[in-house]
Symmetry: C3
Subunit: 269 residues, 3 copies
Amino acid sequence: MAVDKPARKAAELLTALRAQRPLIHNITNQVVMNYTANALLASGASPVMAHAQEEVEEMTALAGALVLNIGTLTASSVEAMLLAGRQANALNIPVILDPVGSGATRFRTRTAVRLLGELSVSVIRGNASEILSLARADTRTRGVDAVHGVDEVRETALQLAHTLGTVLAITGAVDLITDGKQTLTVSNGHEMMGYITGTGCTATALIGAFSAVEKDPLHAASSALAYFGLAGEMGARDAPGPGTFQMALLDALFVMDEKQLKAGARIEA
Amino acid sequence: MAVDKPARKAAELLTALRAQRPLIHNITNQVVMNYTANALLASGASPVMAHAQEEVEEMTALAGALVLNIGTLTASSVEAMLLAGRQANALNIPVILDPVGSGATRFRTRTAVRLLGELSVSVIRGNASEILSLARADTRTRGVDAVHGVDEVRETALQLAHTLGTVLAITGAVDLITDGKQTLTVSNGHEMMGYITGTGCTATALIGAFSAVEKDPLHAASSALAYFGLAGEMGARDAPGPGTFQMALLDALFVMDEKQLKAGARIEA
Amino acid sequence: MAVDKPARKAAELLTALRAQRPLIHNITNQVVMNYTANALLASGASPVMAHAQEEVEEMTALAGALVLNIGTLTASSVEAMLLAGRQANALNIPVILDPVGSGATRFRTRTAVRLLGELSVSVIRGNASEILSLARADTRTRGVDAVHGVDEVRETALQLAHTLGTVLAITGAVDLITDGKQTLTVSNGHEMMGYITGTGCTATALIGAFSAVEKDPLHAASSALAYFGLAGEMGARDAPGPGTFQMALLDALFVMDEKQLKAGARIEA
C-alpha cells in the first residue's frame, strides 16, 4: 500500500541512524541545549554543541549535519552560524534551520531572513507563525508561540518552499512538510508535547540527525517528525504531567524499534 | 475565616493564569533556563527567554511580566536587563528581580543595587542573605546559599521594602513577603526543594507569572510561593531522591487544581 | 584486605562531603550546567556557576574547588578560567580541568594546553582521545566522543601525568587514574551513562567535590569516579531508557550511603 511507504522509509532511516551514529553539530539556544543533546543521544546520534567563531568551521567539518537555532541568538552567535553554515554548504553537509521566535522581534526575523539569504538550507522547521514571518514581514509571533494554524499558511508555505528551494516543515497538531511540489503530512504527536519547552527545537535537531543519513530532505524531515511524534504518544501513556513526560519521551526515543515506528508512523501524501 | 482569604486568592489567580496564558519574558541564568521554562509551562504560562540587547525591548513589550535574574550575569546581560526593564516600566509591565548570589561578589551586589536604582521593581525574591546584601554592603552570601535565616532579616526587610517601594519575598523554611506595611508568611514547601538547583529562580519566575494576572504584588508573590511550595510537598510524596522529585514537582504544578491549592495553601498575615 | 582500602577511603570522603557541603565553583559548558549543579547538590556539595571576568576571582575565593570545563568555550570564558584558575592556585584551592572536545578543534586543543601551561591543575578528567590530544598534537577527537580506548593511551598517560605533575583521570569502560607513579583503575559504571549528555562533565564536577575534602588528588578522583559509577549502576536497575535513567542517577547519588559505596566501589591498584 502506498500509505505504508513513508512509514517503511522512516523505519529504515532509524536503523541507519543507529548504525551510523552521525555527529550532529548544533548551534542552538541555551534553553534547550541539554534536552536536544539528550534526545539526539537517545535516538542514536552523537550531538556536539559549539558556537565559538574560532572553532565552528572545524566542528562542522566533522559533522553529518548542522542544526542552526536562533532561540537565544546574539550578534556573535549569528556570525558563528554564518561561518558554520558556509562551511557546511562548501562540504555538502545538510543545514537545518529553526527560526525560533521569528516574527516576535525584528532581530529574529531579520536574522532568519539573512541566514536564508546567505546559506543554502536543506530544511526549515518552525511553527506556522514563524514560517509565515519568513514570507510576510508583517507577521507577528507571540514570543515563541504560534498564533496561526498550519492550514492557514499552507499556500504561503508551498510558494516559499519553491522560492527558497528548501523543504519547509511546519509543525502543529498535524505537521506539513513540503518542498513546493510534493507535500506530506505527519499526524503523530501528543498535546502534552506543548507543555514542555523545546519540543520544536528537538524536532529540528532530529531532522538534522535523519538528514545525516538520508539525502532527500522531504523524507528526512517527515521521518524524523513521525518518529518524534510517535515517541510523544508512547511517552504520554503513563505520564501524569509534563515532568515525567519529558523523561518518558527520551525513553521512548531510545526504546522504540523499527517495527513500532513502521506500524505507528502516520505520514501521508 | 480571614485565614482562608489569601488561599482563595491564590486559587483564583491560578485559574486566571491558566485561562490567560500570559507571556513571561525571562532574562535569566543559564543554569535554570530549561527548568524555569518548563515550570512556567506546567503552571499555564508561556515562557520566552531572550537576552540580546537588539531585541529585549520588543520582546518585553509582548509580555505580561519581565523576570530579571542575575545568576550568571555578564556585563552584556546586565545592559539587556536595563533596556528590558526600562521598557517594562514605560509600559507598566511588572518587573520581578532575583538577585542571585548578591553578597557573594561585588559585581553581583553592585548589579542588584544598580538594577534597583534604575528600575521600578515590583517584587524582589531572594534568600535572606541576598536580600540583606541589598541593604547592608558588608553582608556575605556563600555562593548562592543563604547564611542568614529569614527571621534575622525581618526588620531590615520591612525597612528596605518601605525605602524601595517594592515587595520583598524572602524565601526559606517559612517565606516572608512584605511591602513594608503588610507582611504575609507562606509555610508551604519541602526540604527536598533545597536539593535541586534553581528552585529559588523558579519561585521568582512563577511570581512573574502570577504578577501578570494580579496587580497587587503582595498577593501575586504570596500566591505564587504557596502554589510552588505546595507543588513541592505533592512532588516529594513518592520521590526517592532529587532527580525523580525534580520531575514530580513539574507534574504537581501541572495537575494541581484550584481546590487543592485553596485547601493546601498556608498563607498567613 | 588491601583491595578494600580505596573503597573505604571513598566512603569516608562521601561522609566528609556531606558533612562539609563545600562550595564548588564551576566555569563550565551551557549543555550540562543544570545537570552538574543537580549532581553536585545530590552528592552533598553546594554548586555555584559564575563566569563573568568581573567576579570569578571573588567567587573562586569562596570555594573548596574550582572546576574548569571547555565544552562550550569562548574567548571570554577562557579568560575567566585563567583569572579564576590563578586565584585558585594562589589560595591553594584545587583546580580540576575537563578538556571537553580537545582534539576536535584547534581552539579546544590550544585552550586546554594553554590552561595547563598557565595553571597548576590538580586533576584532568577526559576520555582517551581528549587526554591523548594533550600529549600529541595530531590526535583527533570526534566531536566530544573518544575514538581511542583507555588501554591505548595508558603509556602516554603515565608520561603525561609525570610531565605535567598532575593526576589524569581517563574515563571509559574501565577508568584509569594515574599521577605517573601510582595507577588505579575504577570499574564501576553502566553503559546507559553513554546515552545521556554530560556524564563526563558530571564526573569531573564530582572530582571537584571530592577534591574539596581530600588533599590527595589520586584518591579524590578515584573515589569520585567509583561513587558516580556505582550511582550509574544503581540508577540503571529500573530505568527503561535514558530519560528515566538521568533522574534515577541523581536519586542514586542522593540515597547512596557510605556502606553501599564501600561495598560497591571497585577501585584497584
